[in-house]
Amino acid sequence: MDTESQRWRWWALGLAAGLLLFLPQLYAQGPAQNQKPIKWGGDTDGGFPYVFADRIDPEKVIGFEMDLAQALEKEIGRPIVFEQRTYESLLADLGRGDIDVAMNGLEIIPERLKRVAFSRPYYIYQLQLVVRADESRFKNLEEAKAKGMTIGTLGATAAERLLQDQGVSLKTYDDQQGPYDDLRQGALDGVLMDLPIAIYYAAPDKKLQYSQLKPGLKFLGPAFAEGYYGIAVRKDDKELLEQLNRGIDNLLNSGKLKDILQKWQLWTPDQYRLYEPIDVVAGGDDMRFADYLPLLLWGAVVTVLITLASFALAVAIGLFIALLRMYGPAPLRWFGVGYVEFFRGIPVLLLLYFIYYGLPALVPGLKLNAYIAAVLGFGLNYAAYEAEIYRAGISSIPRGQWEAAASLGMSSPMTFRRIILPQAIRVILPPMTSDLVALFKDTSVVSIIAVVELSKQYQILTKSGGGYLQIGLTTAALYLVMSVPLGYLSRYLEHRWGAKH
């Protein structure tokens, strides 16, 4: 009995203490406060110094925006939870309601203001041109343009827009690392990105904890073309916008935002202007059909060229592998079997990554153009499938044909070339044509290595301006115009020749 009452007393005490601790907070936030967490979308993929996975504990997401989010959490009184999203889809995800806010170095630009609302800015960025340390051909963007230099940048950013507006030849990337890697390997002449990124990848004099320094690069000239980073919210989410603005306001006035930026070495005197009102308004024209059609058509041409070149390579290598596998001596035969199993077993995406990013790292001095890497990747991958088609076709020709040719004095290579292959083609052609159709559609994957073909062009066009439906329908129409006749050809060949065997 004694212990029972004691336990009860402890319990009551604990409850009271808990209430005492939490009550002030509950009161401060007001009883009407919504405790629903705010879903914050960002991309940790190569996202220094915004949000990225901690190298020591990859489960942990850190970065100056993470610090900002945690500070805002306290100001607003609602938990902010991070959700991993791809950078390109942030605004689309926001519109769909998958996330409540998007914060990932998103510049406040007129086109975006048409689709979403932005909080007051939390950072004033500038653009920084980075070149190889030994660069002497140009000293600024104008000279780079005049000399026909190619500048790399992130897709759907203010930097991309600036390069486009100035007519500089440019190449867009999905990640921050790619452009700097390509610059070092000579595939690019310069990289124009936001200063925070440039600092973390190419400023050797800064002592940064999380620096991703790529040696052999330098800043070219001072940073320029400033703009604002803001937090994007849905336009109808007025309450949240209000909360965010008040939160950033408080962080500015208490000096906490400055502390965070200083911690990440991002503070510059320019940031004092964060205290002033900003004047970016929604604007920019909707893309018109006549504007985007040429871009999509060019994308279609690239798609067709990559498809044809890859397939030609696949058909050639495939025949070679099939011959090794069927007629080669034992070690070569095993190689043929290994080749087929290997390339059928790994995703083509991985292969493309490896060829484009991995090979140049392994082989010093190797400069792989993204288009060549794409053709190589798909050529090697599809060769495995074509080899099996060849093998099936060639084995379907009866042995008697070999013997009849041999008895006429024909050598094996001659028999293969003049008697077996021409007959096997009839068995081979229908499945090969349907592979061609498949490859045609598969090529959309190459966008991951900075090749701008039809699908990628669609992505680029819709990223900044929206217009998913019209541009999407045009893109689909272009694909269909090309793939439907191919499909018919495949079925025709199947019907014509496939049935006889």
Partner: protein, 215 residues
């Protein structure tokens, strides 16, 4: 020369060895000055033997992607390196001889079995061999059609061509062959002129074989 014998006796095997299509474990094969030995193939010797003897198969094995004429000129053009006009001239002559002068541009699929087999004979002859090896070349044909092929063979023999044929046509063997060899279990059971082998067989097994075949 006619090769006779029960099924599984080794007739096809012998013929294929003679043309270098099969290897063998013991013994040797001599054709003219060419010698095939057991063990790994010897390309040059096989090639020499194939120049001396053409081969005709039971299931024709015409090249289906080539027309009748192209079937016949294929080897002269690409193995012997003849000019096209010479090869065509020879092929037309040969096809006329086997009675297919009007089917030069037909496709193999369009021909009857007997016609196919005669194209196959013309194709083998186009390499100007000294003889032909024929393995049951009439077995897949209807009885009425067999004769057109057999007639061609008799005609060729009259012209001095050496024919080694595996056949189940006893009547034809007796009528046309100079020599009959009977194979049984991979060994020669009888060997001699048809009158002797078919009419007065020396071995008991041969008598049983004849009884079974002739009924």
């Amino acid at each position: 020369m006619a090769l006779l014998g029960p099924s599984g006796g080794g007739k096809s095997t012998l013929l294929r060895c003679l043309n270098g299509l099969n290897t063998f474990d013991t013994g040797q094969i001599r054709v003219g000055e060419h010698v095939l030995r057991s063990g790994p193939r010897h390309g040059a010797e096989i090639h020499g033997i194939r120049r001396l003897f053409g081969m005709v198969f039971q299931d024709f094995q015409l090249f289906p992607h080539l027309s009748v004429l192209e079937n016949v000129i294929e080897a002269p053009l690409h193995v012997q390196g003849m000019t096209r006009s010479d090869a065509v001239e020879r092929a037309e002559h040969l096809l006329q001889r086997v009675g297919l002068g009007s089917h030069l541009h037909a496709w193999p699929q369009q021909l009857s079995g007997g016609q196919k087999q005669r194209v196959a004979i013309a194709r083998a002859l186009a390499m100007q061999p000294r003889g032909l090896l024929c393995d049951e070349i009439t077995s897949a044909l209807d009885p009425e059609i067999k004769h057109e092929v057999l007639r061609v063979l008799e005609d060729l023999k009259r012209d001095g061509l050496t024919l080694i044929l595996v056949t189940h046509e006893m009547g034809f063997a007796r009528r046309a062959a100079d020599r009959v060899v009977v194979l049984c279990d991979g060994r020669i059971l009888e060997d001699g002129p048809p009158a002797q082998v078919l009419e007065q067989p020396r071995t008991e097994r041969m008598q049983m074989f004849l009884q079974r075949v002739l009924g």
